[in-house]
Subunit: 234 residues, 2 copies
């Protein structure tokens, strides 16, 4: 179950980890990552499950979902290949959100006690691990800013720009996005109804900001999108 050695780690967000982990390996510890295939709709982790590992998304995309007592769902974040997920389970020992594959893909389970052992052995790896957790705090703070202060059109524009930037950072096209979420899921993520998402896509298309065909979205006028997010013009 050990990961294939050197398997395209350079594109993986865990890269910094694994490379320092390899060096820290000299200290007598080695990271054993279990690579798992997931099919669309599979749960990577389920809310309430005991926490034991972080998961590196090797291929595909995932959503992490929190559910209210009355059944309403909030998509807390969506993850693309290279992201590390599941850190919320670390507090309290059980996962709080359910992480589900949005398409077929592959994840690596990284046993957390092994990560901690490596972090104790290697200062650089430790810092990377902490940065990983802090990055999640930061992403969520930004999401709060978005939900708390922006209007629907701004949130959707910000969402598209963020997604494009993240794909770009992983070497994919920065303007051609294939959404893996339904309109309903995008709505659950951005705090609006699917009809509103649909209407905004149509309007952005009409206004020449983007070009939409179902789940294929092409960013046409990034400048205008950015301005929309920032200025919040009516």
């Amino acid at each position: 179950m050990a990961a294939a050695p050197g398997a395209r780690c350079s594109q993986c967000g865990m890269h910094a980890f694994c490379s320092t982990a390899a060096r820290a390996g000299g200290a007598g510890v080695e990271l054993i990552a279990a690579k798992v295939r997931v099919r669309k709709g599979d749960d990577v982790v389920r809310a309430g499950a005991p926490f034991a590992a972080l998961y590196a998304v090797r291929a595909g995309t995932c959503k992490s979902v929190l559910v209210t007592p009355d059944g309403q769902e909030q998509i807390v974040d969506c993850h693309i290949a290279g992201d590390i997920v599941g850190a919320d389970g670390l507090a309290g020992g059980t996962h709080e959100s359910t992480i589900t594959a949005l398409e077929d893909g592959e994840v690596c389970a990284l046993p957390f006690d092994q990560l901690e052992t490596l972090a104790r052995a290697n200062r650089e790896f430790q810092r990377n691990l902490h940065a990983l957790l802090a990055r999640e705090i930061r992403r969520e703070q930004r999401a709060l800013l978005m939900l708390g202060t922006m209007r629907a059109e701004q949130r959707l524009a910000a969402f598209l720009l963020d997604l494009a930037d993240r794909y770009a950072a992983r070497g994919y096209s920065a303007s051609e996005i294939v959404l893996r979420m339904t309109r309903d899921e995008i709505g659950q993520h951005l705090g609006m109804k699917l009809e509103t998402v649909s209407r905004l896509f149509s309007r952005f298309d009409q206004e020449g900001l983007i070009r939409v065909h179902g789940r294929d979205v092409k960013l046409i006028d990034r400048g205008a999108l950015k301005q929309l997010v920032q200025a919040g013009l009516h």
Copy 2:
């Protein structure tokens, strides 16, 4: 600038840290916390400042604020005595949110490289540090759920219950709250306007859920408040 030894650490959220830190101290490291007085309105950390330490709130309350490019403010969280703040700065090396005192108080600066050194030396302390970061992830995920799925009245009810619970966990009254935030600040935290906050306080008071006198709030019918949050009845 070292903290007064044994200074009411039992009430401090850092307690688990310091106690294990003391034990880890046998490994030749000691935590030097700088205790600082803050006045109402003082910034504990400013957005953009280089990250060097976490801050334990020893007395008083703080808010952490994120600002949009166009000047809108989102109060990401508010912190009471016993909380540890400033973890968002760990990613990227600079603080992203500004943390401001809402009343006179006292904070301890905990140099992060010292915390990391202790974490490498002591497994239990390391786990506590990780749990601290994960708890923040969790709080923010819940806040996202709140902003993304709930209506204004539910958010305010949830806010009051959370605040009461947190005070209770620190040994204060679970039903008598003294708000340290203005209506405007509460609105900036919950994603609504100050007028809406005011109206909801008045309505909750009329309906007998709470008793409001300015910033003094007494929770009367916690059951009803909880039901309001969960059921979202119209």
